[in-house]
């Protein structure tokens, strides 16, 4: 019998892997992939609660909004990464220290 706990554990694993990617990668595109994993884990939680909790569709609606946010976030982040690459010729996040005093 699959319960909501199963989905929550899968989502927790996805979230932790996303955090690991964000913390340990130096390449900006790879950090972005970690953020996508985190957003997907949040979505999985929302849909699981929508199914096993109250039984209405509000969780799925929130998941659609999260997907919209993720799409615009990726577009803006890639624009910033490309501009940074033009400026510094590297996608390495440690080199993005122009604002450092």
């Amino acid at each position: 019998m699959i319960t909501v706990q199963h989905y929550l554990v899968v989502s927790a694993a996805l979230f932790s892997l996303g955090i690991l990617g964000v913390l340990t990668r130096r390449n900006a595109v790879n950090v972005l992939m970690g953020i996508e994993l985190i957003l997907n884990s949040a979505n999985l939680n929302l849909v699981a609660f929508s199914r096993y909790g109250t039984g209405n569709l509000q969780g799925q609606l929130f998941a659609v909004f999260v997907i919209v946010i993720a799409a615009s976030e990726v577009a803006v982040a890639l624009a910033i990464i490309l501009t940074l690459y033009r400026l510094r010729r590297t996608p390495n996040l440690d080199e993005a220290d122009i604002l450092q005093g």
């Binding site: 694993a13 996508e36 039984g55 659609v64």
Partner: protein, 166 residues
């Protein structure tokens, strides 16, 4: 083991396994292709949860849009003769400690909490109901999200544009 449990564990294994490849693979291209399987696995879990519209949306937007954008990002931020596309790893051990601690905290608290009992009956096809909710109860957030998307895409185009006067 019921068929539902078997399908769940298959999709969960695909999702978590390929997410681990995304995070741990040395090559950026391997990471991007593993991300494809993660998105497919999550879409499968959505189907299992009865969210058919959301599974189709996941495939269309994540696989068709976001993953292609990320691949563009990989290709545009590396020189074309730079074939191995390596991604350096930093602070690996502290990162692993934080991630494992976070996973244990979340998983233990999720398993030990008494969640409210659901019916467990999968809902009927959801597309019509979601469309009705968007056009009636959630019309304002829907319009706000569409304007946000428009503004974000125009802003992204403005940021990457080469300025003539610069």
């Amino acid at each position: 083991m019921t068929p539902e449990a078997a399908v769940f564990f298959i999709f969960a294994l695909i999702t978590v396994g390929s997410a681990a490849v995304v995070v741990l693979a040395r090559s950026l291209i391997y990471s991007a292709f593993a991300l494809l399987f993660t998105f497919f696995g999550v879409a499968g879990l959505y189907v299992l949860l009865g969210a058919d519209f959301l599974a189709a949306t996941q495939l269309l937007i994540y696989v068709g849009g976001i993953l292609v954008l990320l691949l563009f990002g990989v290709m545009l931020t590396h020189k074309l003769y730079d074939l191995d596309l390596r991604s350096e790893v930093t602070q690996f051990l502290p990162g692993v400690i934080v991630a494992v601690g976070l996973f244990l905290l979340l998983a233990v608290s999720a398993v030990n909490t008494q969640w409210m009992g659901g019916s467990g009956v999968p809902p009927a096809p959801t597309t019509a109901a979601i469309g009705r909710l968007f056009m009636q109860e959630y019309l304002l957030p829907f319009e706000a999200a569409s304007i946000l998307l428009l503004v974000a895409l125009m802003g992204a185009a403005m940021i990457v544009r080469r300025r003539k006067d610069a």
